[in-house]
Assembly symmetry: C4
Homo-oligomer: 259 residues x 4
């Protein structure tokens, strides 16, 4: 594995930073786990390679050793993230270890982890296929079993409700909280004029839900053109039963990454 | 050929398994033929590389030496299937040789082989382009000679009719039989909220029919947007005459596989 | 250039075949010109790589040394054509040199060369983007200067008019002549339920016209969705003035070929 | 960096040309800066690799050392541009250094630089996604924050107003001036039956605006199909606030270039 040296280096940096820079957080930083960090790097690259994110967007994972911390890359294009870019944040989205400028919208992650103890991983994307649905105010509906979680409903967060006229960015804790409230207990919420946020109980599942959220939107748009309001979606009870692990998708996408 | 050693290894494993594990089936397992297994591996990879399947979906081929057996990969992403993953099943979809967890929906294959002595190969896919047609209940029609087999009609299997509220999966012999009945004597059936199944008299043709089923759906959707119900499809008699071997498509797709 | 040995080999084979097999044609075969043959191989590969053809379709060029002959690959997928596959045909589409089974529809080429002394190169494709237009009977119109030649009009050839119920293939001289009559003096004609034929005065231009015929169809479909019959197309006089050589497209596409 | 020798060679050629060929311009040519030239080469390749241009289209940058000069490749496909192809032009679009045939439409660049002292970089593209909007006379509107600049309005330049029936090309200073007048103080203008022009205050931003102009058009077309005239666009004040540097997009696109 080419990246293992980088992973050990990152762990070392983390240990050093948490030693010499105690003011960054009140509790000592938890050393990142190389395998988890590596998986987070792969998640970043899959999202870029499969077109769920472009130069923008981000994915985080909660620290399994400390539920009050999460890992997220410092600000940069997801396709270019390496283990050395991963920063540990507390749930107020302040860095607990690592260095570099953070994403302006890291509060999306921290506030969802605060509100949702069941959530282990979060994606924010400018997912192209869902943006027209938010703009058109057409609810997403589950088209097939791979989009089963859409049966929970996909609410739309309009930042204007929380912030009035803004730069459209979820750049404060308060806006992160407002977004988390709209998301509620669901897997995904659209962000009007912006993109979407997706939450799940694992890194592999959150990547897949972000991916299939887009696929399902394309299928729904096509079905509505063929039949308008007469489309047959998954029955709500079918959607509840059709839970997916998506593990094969992860293996497939991982195998497609450029070397 | 890089894979020939793996093929011989697979044949050896098969021989060993069928010797030491006679309880797996009543008749001894037929040794897989390296060339056929290799073709099945190529079929898996073509379907993934051409976008007919993603991390999910599967393709099988009947054993030419024993019509009561078929070959299918153990559960895994089609793009990553190797000769060592190929398992021989009896028509009840119980493993006759090979090891590893089987696809939950392998009954699709076994039950179609039981019902259709003319069928030599089967594909199950979450073919994106046809899912809206099933959801919209718009019949597929043959748009051009490459989709000639659509002239036979493409029925829609709604699992709710056979199973009520379910997880959408054809995970039992009874559901496989229900699907086979809807397919009837035709080349393809859609599966509502799920995908499609395609059957043919050769591995090369089943891959091509799955591919062109999708292409034809895209063309039909586009034509219907231009002209609604006024589209001119292939005449049923033209569709019968326009039989294709698709052999050049197979050679083309094979040449495009990543090395 | 990796292919030059193959080109010389092809020339040699041609010379030998035309010596030992004089019954193939009445006049001696013209030796193919390596540079032209190489360009024809590149044309095949560009058409496949840019998605104008898939495993099917073909492109030919008239022999500049003998206007009664043209070069066309023997039957095979365009992406895989090499110099050794190029065959010389007379205008009755009988082989004058070279070997191998010919395309069933080679008469498309021969009959257009007979009818159109201004034509030097011909493409037949199952061009996906134009098939819905023929099926919907919506005339193609020039959307931008790269599709200028569409201003000449793009007639639709319905094989039923010439052959009644058929296998949809232009497999005889008479059908080739019927298609050539529908094409008339224009650059392109659609073939209902099948694809298109494109004719031009050079190999580079015929490839580009086949490519931009498709692009223009996509743009027109999109514009019609936005505005129905209120779309502004190129004025017929603008279309006449906007003649393109497309030479930069050829260089671009050639640079994109897989090595 | 593989190209640095070429860059130094280009600087040398420039110096020689500006010495031996003083009649090309009244003032001595400014030596191009290797880093800027290299960025311009990258801009050309990104535009091609991301599908904003094909074999046609061009991108220029104003000389930061001399506001009366700009750099633009000599006529050729953007994907194939190298540092040696970069030519320096004065604002009348006459070459000040470098050699080779210029783009017929280089006046687009010179006349916009003349009219807009705030503009540092210009793209002309046959951007496929916006051509239907010009043809349908449907105004582009900002769909999400990445397309914020569309909030300024995107006027349509109809060359017929300035030139009557033409070959559609902006091939004279007068036509360049007419286009610059339609563009006004905005970021982008569509060109009916042709493509678009985009202007910005940096090379990275102009590439990104050309890219997101297309993305936004696709999203708008999709939203209008879902909801016609009921789509919610960015509020004009939101659009003003949502300014982007797009720097991460540039890094992402650069990393995707073929080596």
């Amino acid at each position: 594995m080419r990246r293992i040296p980088a992973l050990f280096a990152a762990a070392l940096v983390t240990a050093l930073v948490s030693t010499v820079n105690p003011v960054l957080s009140q509790a000592p930083a938890s050393p990142p786990r190389p395998a988890l960090v590596e998986d987070l790097v792969v998640a970043n690259r899959i999202l870029a390679n499969e077109g769920v994110v472009d130069g923008y967007g981000h994915v985080s994972v909660r620290n399994p050793a400390n539920a009050n911390r999460y890992f997220l890359a410092r600000a940069g294009a997801p396709a270019l993230v390496t283990a050395a870019d991963i920063v540990e944040y507390d749930l107020d989205s302040q860095p607990a270890s690592g260095s570099g400028t953070g994403y302006t919208e890291r509060f999306i992650h921290g506030e969802i982890y605060k509100a949702r103890t069941d959530v282990t991983a979060v994606v924010h994307c400018h997912c192209l296929d869902v943006i027209p649905f938010a703009a058109a105010n057409v609810p997403l509906r589950p088209m097939y079993h791979m989009g089963y979680f859409i049966g929970e409903g996909v609410p739309v967060f309009d930042i204007r409700t929380a912030a009035g006229i803004s730069d459209m960015l979820v750049g404060t804790p308060a806006l992160g909280q407002a977004l988390a409230r709209v998301l509620g207990r669901r897997s995904a919420a659209l962000m009007r004029g912006h993109g979407a946020v997706v939450a799940a109980d694992s890194l592999h599942v959150v990547v897949a839900k972000a991916y299939y959220l887009n696929v399902n939107a394309r299928l729904q748009s096509e079905a509505m053109r063929l039949r308008g309001n007469g489309v047959t979606y998954l029955d709500p009870e079918e959607a509840k039963k059709a839970v997916q692990t998506y593990e094969r998708s992860w293996e497939f996408w991982k195998s497609r990454l450029p070397r």
